[in-house]
Symmetry: C2
């Protein structure tokens, strides 16, 4: 019993340090690119030495892969949840998805940078897996769009132009958005949704579709 409590405590401490290291790596990777960041940099950033990093992680690649996994789990999970909701019509669902993704991008700019810039630093196997994740993510958006087309609410366009356009526009938000600007993350994302969905919707209704949280 006492044994378990102690182990539990240790595990929590370990998890905490791992988290700390991962966060440090994340920040530096995003800022300078993986290859420009040494393990020493990551460690020094926390007042540690290199050995500590190697005590908690096997190698540099594991650090990177861990980050990719984090991102995937967080983003895909939320998106999937939205996808499975039955109370939303296609237009509202797609809008909610674009809104969510835009906000995610803006709230996790470091993640987005790494996710789309440093893919090439992964191993072939990891890249293959990542490719499948991205495919899956795309297909969620695609399905909602196609459902909308079928129901006659969306114009019919090449699906990848639509999906790519949404993802591309959202990803790019982080490039020009500044926290010091007049607009909040939510407002920016909302305007972005209006731009993207406005081009899709059929009919003269001028209002932007809204989805409940």
């Amino acid at each position: 019993m006492a044994r378990t409590v102690r182990e539990e405590l240790k595990a929590r401490k370990q998890a905490y340090v791992q988290e700390e290291i991962l966060n440090s790596a994340e920040r530096l990777f995003a800022e300078r690119g993986i290859r420009a960041v040494s393990i020493d940099d990551i460690a020094n950033n926390l007042g540690y030495t290199k050995s500590v990093v190697y005590y908690y992680f096997k190698n540099k690649n594991q650090l990177l892969w861990e980050i990719f996994q984090r991102i995937h789990v967080a983003w895909d999970g939320e998106m999937e949840e939205l996808y499975n909701r039955t109370d939303l019509a296609p237009a509202d669902k797609l809008a909610a998805m674009a809104r969510l993704y835009g906000i995610n991008v803006l709230q996790n700019r470091a993640w987005t940078t790494i996710y789309f810039r440093d893919e090439g630093e992964l191993t072939k196997e990891q890249q293959k897996l990542l490719y499948e994740w991205k495919q899956h993510f795309d297909s969620i958006l695609k399905n909602v769009y196609l459902e909308g087309v079928e129901k006659g609410v969306f114009k019919s366009m090449p699906p990848y132009v639509v999906v790519g356009g949404i993802i591309g526009a959202c990803n790019f938000l982080r490039v020009w958005f500044r926290d010091t600007g007049k607009m909040t993350i939510e407002e920016v994302s909302e305007a972005n949704v209006a731009l993207l969905l406005g081009g899709l919707l059929i009919g003269r209704s001028r209002k932007t579709p809204k989805a409940g949280a």
Copy 2:
């Protein structure tokens, strides 16, 4: 006279080799990222040794910067040309710009990759210059958009959402576009324009604006 001819010839030969090296660098940089490419790689790729590269270029940074300049000159020049045309209404002009840019992205995927991924490898001064170039590029699109708003043909939105959306969507085309697909570059770009402009235009007209070449 003979002197001049000879010099001319020599200059042309030099320019040719420089071009070759730059192309090699471009391809490899885009594929693997600058830091993952050694000068040896670039040289070997052409059957040369490292020294040849250093005979024609000062250092690795110059190679990279030369590439950035190339891209800027090519893209900005074309866009400026379009901007200065007086025979196009805002909607047609903005559509033509998005169309042009999308095609540029797809025809020069290596360029686009480097331009938006490896910025951080430039010196601070170069980054500053690049930032100004990008600002200028954005402002061209922005002005056309704002003109359209003023004339009542575009919905009023935050300009950076519109400009960023266009650039972001175009940039992302290269990520999913495959030459083996059923659509040509021009068709993809056209559909992309329809998506983006469709969300901007006021009124019930369903047709996509067209611009003369």
